[in-house]
């Protein structure tokens, strides 16, 4: 494993994570434009898996909760939008 204080590894991961955050609006568009429930589920599923791997547990959990087809899932989707906006706005630079 990498030695402690490996700044290069930390910087590389931060760059990948920023790339993920920059792509969140595109993921949201994909969810909104999904032609059917199955496609929407798949897009949310991918977001949930990716968010967790980048340490965005809340985003991942919201995506999982929005996978349903009931009113609660639709309400969660709105919270998910707000969380994505927050993350995108908080990007450095």
């Amino acid at each position: 494993m990498t030695q402690p204080g490996d700044d290069e590894a930390a910087a590389r991961f931060a760059a990948i994570e920023q790339q993920f955050v920059a792509g969140l609006p595109r993921r949201l568009q994909e969810i909104d434009a999904a032609p059917d429930a199955q496609a929407r589920y798949a897009a949310l599923h991918r977001l949930a898996g990716a968010a967790g791997a980048f340490g965005h547990a809340r985003l991942g959990e919201l995506a999982r909760q929005a996978m349903g087809t009931d009113a609660a899932a639709d309400a969660t989707l709105q919270v998910l939008r707000e969380e994505i906006s927050r993350l995108v706005d908080a990007r450095p630079g």
């Binding site: 494993m1 402690p4 590894a9 790339q19 991918r46 949930a48 967790g52 791997a53």
Partner: protein, 142 residues
């Protein structure tokens, strides 16, 4: 998340596992897998975006362990595993499914497809290089 890792030498040098193939349709997760297994774990990694790509690249790469996403468009993880098993180079190679928490209930069904194990997403990129070793050892009957 501390991605600077823990002290120690590269896992691939100690445990003998060298080549890991990852099959994942999400581009961001592919980047994390490559970072985790190649950069932190020191493995030789072949990252594929689809089951079809994995089938094409497996003979030349000769993976010693495969991480395979379950839910992919086109060829699913279980369908990919079935086809991979037809390749001579894949005989006896441990295959571990990557699946989301929401699909844990389907785990028994997933394992019936002949996978060695299941890693639930989200995985921790820092611990993943070590986490996969248990499946590699299990697959080799150690």
């Amino acid at each position: 998340m501390n991605v600077s890792g823990q002290p120690g030498v590269e896992l691939s040098e100690v445990d003998g596992l060298k080549r890991v193939m990852c099959v994942e349709d999400d581009a961001d997760i592919r980047l994390v897998l490559e970072f985790s297994l190649a950069r932190l774990g020191g493995y030789e990694v072949c990252v594929c975006a689809s089951g079809l790509e994995a089938l094409e690249r497996a003979p030349a790469f000769a993976p010693e362990l495969v991480l395979l996403d379950v839910m992919m468009p086109g060829m699913t993880g279980p369908q990919t595993l079935e086809r991979l098993r037809e390749l001579p180079v894949m005989q006896g190679v441990p295959v571990v499914f990557l699946t989301a928490k929401a699909m844990q209930r389907d785990m028994e069904d997933i394992l019936q497809h002949g996978a060695t194990g299941v890693i639930v997403k989200p995985f921790d990129p820092v611990t993943l290089p070590k986490d996969i070793l248990v499946y590699w050892e299990h697959g080799r009957g150690r």
